[in-house]
């Protein structure tokens, strides 16, 4: 029910605060989505779309930082090293 699919903003169709819409690409499939919850999203940003409405803008910086944090944590974990080697 709370399925959310990440997609790329291809172009804005209408920037109305309530009826704003944009074309979003999901792996080559494009669909018109409502954008009132992510009015600051720009072309090439990734958003999470749920029930035809973009509800969140993906934070690339946070994603990279989380990946770096994990890497640092894993590097300090011998068990994870074993898993990597196997």
């Amino acid at each position: 029910m709370c399925l959310g699919v990440p997609g790329r903003v291809v172009r804005w169709i209408d920037r109305d605060p309530i009826l704003g819409r944009a074309e979003i690409e999901f792996e080559g499939i494009c669909r018109e989505c409502h954008m009132a919850c992510v009015p600051d999203a720009e072309v090439d940003d990734y958003v999470i779309v749920h029930a035809g409405v973009a509800i969140s803008r993906m934070d690339e910086t946070a994603a990279r930082q989380a990946q770096a944090d994990w890497q640092a944590w894993r590097d300090s974990s011998p068990a994870a090293d074993d898993a990597q080697a196997s």
């Binding site: 709370c2 309530i18 009132a36 919850c37 009015p39 989380a66 974990s77 898993a83």
Partner: protein, 364 residues
Amino acid sequence: MKYADEFRDRQAVAARLATLGEAATRRWTIMEVCGGQTHNLLRYGLPQAIDAQVELIHGPGCPVCVTAAATIDRAISLAQTPGCLVASFGDMLRVPGSSLSLQQARARGAAVQLVYSPLDAVALAQREPARQVVFLAVGFETTAPATALAVLQAARWGLTNFSLLVAHVRVLPAMELIAGDAACRIDGFLAAGHVCTVTGANVYEDFVSRHRLPVAVTGFEPVDLLDGLLACVRLLEARRPAVANAYVRAVSSEGNRHAQAIVEQVFEPCDRTWRGLGTVPGGGLQLRSAWSEFCAERRFGAADGEAADGDSRCPSARVLTGQMRPTQCPYFGRECTPLAPLGAPMVSDEGACSAYYRYGRVYA
């Protein structure tokens, strides 16, 4: 798919499993609240892989499963009313009311339409001005912005043939009910990631400090799920009840202020009957009085009294609160299957029984 494939990586999963094995000094009991998480945990075989470190308890986080039979009965009666059409999400059509589902009612001539979005129901009302279109609005905080936008769009277009039968539910009041139960044996929670995109991670701070239970905001891919479990286990091992955000690419501390404002404009919290849980204080959303012209119950009348929540044999209350595993039910996979469900948790893909039927019969 960007932001998905890298979170399904086999090596990344293996590394996290190994780290979890090292991090846990005992077996912890953790509830994943969201049905989408239940579905993916079983899909990827994670409950087996982490069985030594974590006992997973599947929570009530499927809005389709917890919609009261009386609401479905009311939707069916509206769909049988001449000139009326009831629209809702696909999952919703198969949920049994007290005697029929919307799908079964449609087979008998009721006007029922599947839509992908509440805004599609508004477009339907605009295309068919001679019909009254009622949207059966279900969902958690994730879906509430879409329903609120549908109301704002219908108002902007001046539609008088669109209304809502509102069955929206809120996650946190249900978590309060579960955590406040004297029989609760849960050590920590995985919070529903897409609910949190709207509400933010901070919304759990007060809950954590009162119940002294850690909450990890968690996504849906296997790496996300393990990151959430690891975050929760690390907090438990450190004896530190706190909120951890393991889904930072999508969830901020404050959540989506635009979405919150849209929901706040249209809806207000109310008590709601959850199938299996009973009345959850503050567990639902209702239209604010300013938008009551879009309330289907005001336009067409409310349901007549209460209805039994489907087949009395179905122990859904115990399943939805984690007191019983689906495979412990005597009807699971026999009298009760996704094609012939006795109760709602077997209907939706995100219902715990349906997920076990599809992926988890090895756990029997």
